[in-house]
């Protein structure tokens, strides 16, 4: 079983679930490109996973990639950061890695509390959603690149 879906013809496949690389792509972090990549990813993922996991994965990656698009450069005139995205379907969920050559990710992002709805916040939701919907998230910076890797579980422990 790969990320919640049985293979269509189990007899024809190895019974041990092998990770399947769903998508690996490099692209500029621009809102329109991010949208195209997410649409491509959901088309690929549909074959390998449940609707619920698909929805959570698309949301997490949208938040992460749009964050790079919006904050990855100090000056908006500079060329967009180049992102490398890899998504692998596993029996227990989706393993994702994202790297980009944008600016340093502020550490506060990684421990984002939920915004207080009483204050009518318009932003600050992105990293909270990423933290809530992922497991085993790691971040490091090496050379001029940010690296983020995490799993989106098939069966979330927190309400999702």
């Amino acid at each position: 079983m790969i990320a919640g879906k049985q293979p269509e013809s189990p007899a024809g496949r190895d019974s041990k679930a092998q990770p399947i690389i769903v998508l690996t792509r490099s692209f500029p972090a621009l809102a329109d490109t991010v949208r195209e990549i997410l649409i491509l990813m959901t088309e690929r993922l549909r074959l390998h996973t449940t609707t619920d996991l698909l929805g959570r994965a698309e949301l997490v990656l949208a938040e992460l990639l749009n964050n790079v698009a919006q904050h990855g450069r100090a000056h908006s005139a500079d060329p967009a950061p180049i992102v490398h995205l890899s998504v692998v379907a596993q029996p227990d969920g989706l393993a994702c890695s994202v790297s980009d050559d944008g600016g340093l990710l502020p550490s506060i992002c990684l421990n984002s509390p939920p915004p207080d709805p009483r204050n009518d916040p318009e932003g600050g939701f992105g990293w909270f959603l990423i933290g809530h919907l992922t497991q085993s998230l790691i971040y490091f910076r090496e050379g001029e690149r940010n690296y983020v890797a995490f799993t989106i579980p098939l069966h979330p422990s927190k309400a999702a």
Partner: protein, 111 residues
């Protein structure tokens, strides 16, 4: 940015005819809907039934529209699809917005 605006038994229904309300379209969405929101008038119903995907930029735009309402005017949301409802629930914005379920649309239906 595709949307329709119509008067439906005394309230203005703004229907978003887009499958994605995301960072690529959030600014355009806000600019397109704000003129229908910012003036005085009957209460508003934002119909999100076509929207299959919403991210935090889209959510921020919906919140900004709510804030643009003049004193005394209300905006409700209806027909949230599962992915859209999840974003409202996780961010607890479902406590801030008046969300009408599909079943509550009345005799006229929600189409």
């Amino acid at each position: 940015m595709n949307l329709t605006v119509k008067d439906e038994s005394g309230q203005i229904v703004v229907r978003i005819v887009e499958r994605r309300l995301d960072a690529a379209i959030a600014g355009e969405f806000k600019d397109a809907v704000r003129p229908h929101v910012a003036m005085r008038g009957p209460d508003l119903l934002l119909d999100l039934g076509e929207v299959e995907f919403l991210d935090s930029s889209g959510l921020g735009a919906v919140i900004a529209l709510k804030k643009a309402l003049p004193e005394g005017r209300q905006m409700r949301l209806r027909r949230l699809t599962p992915n859209v409802a999840r974003v409202f629930r996780l961010t607890r914005m479902d406590q801030v917005f008046d969300i009408v379920d599909a079943a509550d649309c009345g005799k006229g239906g929600c189409a």
